[in-house]
């Protein structure tokens, strides 16, 4: 067993991730079986997770692009807000594809403001981000009053725009639904969780998912991406090698804004409402940033972060406090499993901490009947906070993140 664990440690990343994912699904599956909370692994929950996680995913991707170039982007929120307006405005006149473009462009404009402030004027990144959010929110409200009020008789809402038609992957979608319906331990749960990825899709969902590997490819497998990342790791070195640091950072931050704007468009194009609604972003930009940090500034990681956030949010919305309560049970299982693994590896401190956490969570699970809705509503934030606290020391931000850089200042 020890040897096996040791060998598992040396597995390549994808295999380890797959094992961990399998373990998590197993833990969920056991929880479903023992607590009867089928929503934990239902196709509905996974579709909700996709819908709720998508805007966060876009924001997180935006954060990735900007922060990989060394610019902290806490203005994602404001850029998303700008994106919602742009998407609704363009979408009203030109349909869903135009809406996506509109979100992209308006978010990109927000990114441009941030870029000018941080890259050209060397304003502190967080300060500029806060200012961009303020400005973006104000400008959006003003524009909405000006432009949407005559169309919808409501300054806080755009007229309804046309959305995309949903589609499902033929064959797979139905197949998964059939497996899920059989209610078999693990298999059905896995089918339920996967079906969200193949059912009720729209082009913008596909775009969001596709942008994850595309971002990886662009940032890690192209010359441009190498240059862009180098400006976030060591702009002095990059400049000494003839990399135009300022230009690459501009591209990165404007792209970042554009992606955040697409996140806004994803909100606008959500079949729930199809249009601009004041305050509809509601902090998702910040959550996206958290998801990106959660994901260790890596595309696959931020996808996980966004998915986790969407999942927990979807779960608490669909099934309420009882389901979140059941999730505590899953957390206990995971903590105990972690404790066992660490104990095998003779990492006693980690094992003890995991075991203690497991006992604590189980005590909470055992004491209360259901998580009060007041807290269940914020379960995603709570989960993010806990995971960050547990994993923060393994995170590796870009070396030059947030540091000011002036051309020709190197050495």
């Amino acid at each position: 067993m020890t040897a096996l664990v040791e060998r598992v440690r040396t597995l390549p990343g994808w295999a380890r991730s797959a094992l961990i994912a399998t373990g998590l699904v197993l833990a969920l599956s056991i929880t479903v079986t023992l607590t009867g909370q089928t929503q934990l692994a239902s196709s509905g929950t996974s579709q909700a997770a996709v819908g709720l996680g998508l805007p966060i995913l876009f924001a997180a991707l935006g954060g990735l692009w900007s922060e990989r170039a060394g610019i902290i982007n806490i203005g994602l929120e404001g850029m998303m807000v700008l994106g919602t307006w742009g998407a609704a405005w363009a979408g009203y006149y030109g349909g869903p594809w135009a809406a996506m473009l509109g979100g992209l462009v308006f978010g990109g404009l927000g990114g441009l403001v941030h870029a000018v402030a941080t890259i050209t004027f060397h304003v502190n990144h967080i300060v500029s981000g806060v200012a961009v959010t303020l400005l973006g929110t104000g400008l959006t409200k003003y524009l909405a009053t000006l432009v949407f009020a005559p169309l919808s008789q409501n300054p806080r809402q755009s007229p309804r725009i046309d959305g995309f038609t949903e589609f499902s992957v033929p064959g797979i979608s139905e197949g998964l639904a059939a497996v899920e319906a059989q209610q078999r331990v693990f298999v059905s749960d896995l089918a339920g969780l996967l079906s969200g990825l193949v059912t009720g899709l729209t082009p913008i969902v596909v775009l969001g998912i596709v942008l994850v590997p595309v971002s990886y490819w662009a940032l890690w497998r192209t010359a441009f991406g190498l240059r862009l990342r180098s400006t976030g790791e060591s702009p002095v070195a990059a400049e000494s090698l003839g990399v135009h640091v300022v230009a690459h950072r501009y591209v990165a931050v404007v792209t970042s804004g554009g992606l955040a704007g697409l996140g806004g468009a994803a909100l606008v194009l959500n079949s729930a409402q199809l249009g601009y609604l004041e305050n509809q972003v509601g902090g998702r930009g910040y959550i996206g940033l958290a998801a990106m940090i959660f994901g260790n500034w890596r595309p696959a990681g931020l996808l996980t972060g966004s998915a986790l956030f969407g999942y927990v949010d979807g779960l608490q919305l669909r099934a309420g406090g009882e389901a979140v309560h059941a999730l505590l049970y899953t957390a206990t299982l995971v903590a105990v499993a972690g404790a066992v693994l660490w104990a095998i590896r003779r990492m006693w401190t980690a094992a003890a901490v995991a075991l203690g956490a497991g006992v604590l969570v189980y005590t909470v699970y055992w004491t209360i009947e259901s998580v009060p809705s007041e807290f269940a509503s914020y379960a995603p934030q709570l989960v993010t906070l806990i995971v960050l606290a547990a994993a923060s020391q393994r995170l590796r931000p870009p070396a030059w993140l947030g540091e000011p850089y002036r051309r020709g200042e190197g050495s």
Binding site: R227, R229, S230, S234, E239, L241, G242
Partner: protein, 512 residues
Amino acid sequence: MSAEAVELRGITKRFPGVVANDGVDLAVHTGEVHALCGENGAGKSTLMKILYGMQAPDEGTIAVGGAEMHFRTPADAIAAGIGMVHQHFMLADNLTIAENVLLGAEKQHGIGRAARARISELAGTVGLAAADGSGARSAGAPLDMLVEHLGVADRQRIEILKVLYRGARTVILDEPTAVLVPQEVEELFATVRAMRGEGYTFLFISHKLDEVRAIADRITVLRRGRTVGTVDPREVGNAELAEMMVGSELPSPESRDSSVTDREVLRVEGLGLPDPAGGRDLLDGLDLVVHAGEVLGIAGVEGNGQTELVETVMGMRRHARGRVLLSGVDVSGLSTMARRERGIGYVPEDRSRHALLGDQPLWANRVLGFQSRPPIGRHGLIDRGAARTDTERIVADFDVRTPGIDVMASALSGGNQQKLVVGRELSGDPVLLIAAHPTRGVDVGAQAGIWAELRRARRAGLAVLLVSADLDELIGLSDRLAVILGGRLVGTADPATVTPEELGTAMTGATR
């Protein structure tokens, strides 16, 4: 005569308040190793930045292979076949070797297989594969290693590799030996000579005359931003060269009568420090004693635990093992501030990062480290008046050249900043001074002043723990030398008798 590889004529560069280069001329023949000598601050680095396109000259022309060039960015210089290896390595730790090499030169061979093949090929030229003993390793593997795992010498080779990959025929090496141990310097020189044989041209910047004489075909000397002259090293002696550089004799640390007492001020027992990253211990079983009136010099190649030793004694590192006793009292559990309050003065190695608040006025910098004790700190409050008065005193006594004590610390030159720091750390009657590289990056005048102050303090009974990479400084100032290697003290030496060569051997562990 064939066209020069590089020819600079009448280069002038002014910074606010300073003329860095004043009509500098420099001609480098193709296929030679041309050394550029000068003291710190003579304008060498500025000249090279201009040649490399990082800064534009205010006046003057640059010609490469006979054709006049205008470099606006390093890319222009690279295109003209000029490459530069900076003194401070321009490597991104979090990128792989291949990525560091490819960065900025992706157009040459893409970033795929062809590029990697070319890198592997050039790795041999710069001696990279042989140096880390991994010559037999498959070509793909080490290129994907993160640079942060590499040692100094390998990093330098990657820097040269970067330059070659870009097709440079003329390579600027900016103080390449500053961070190398003597054996590594030899290896570097061997590589340079081999490459000269292949037709590469080198511009070698240094102020270490012995090294320059060992490698250079011709030497150009700069002083205060002006060209003093170009000479053949076989025809001029060290003394002449030194005089060209500083205009007079080098300020050499002379020996003097001992003031060492037998009163122990600092005793370090079994000091150990684990690596937070999980590697080998940074410090291991380190014992040393410094007496009142004694200077203990720590010699060693940079990165062998000097920084860690100093910071552990100062209480800035957590999880340290062993004991630190100050005048017989165990201070191991005390905070940095408590240790300072008990009479430790500290001149850190990197003054802009560790000693000064650049955006604060001089008087506020006087407060730093003394905020808790009289005359400046009282009952948790700061006595601004006392701080100002004492800053005036330091400015006067230590010859800090500044128009006033309200200017920002960052506006002062390096030497004046360091004089302020030394003056501050010597105030409040310390019993122990820990000085790390106290004259690094300061001008000659300031260097002499700082040395004089250290000697004066030593005479007054101060114990000094001196860490320096400058062997002349170490030998000249120390009463005793200890050699640090890999986080352990591996030997001691008497500065009166030891030679730099012997010391160098001990520092690399070659005799062990």
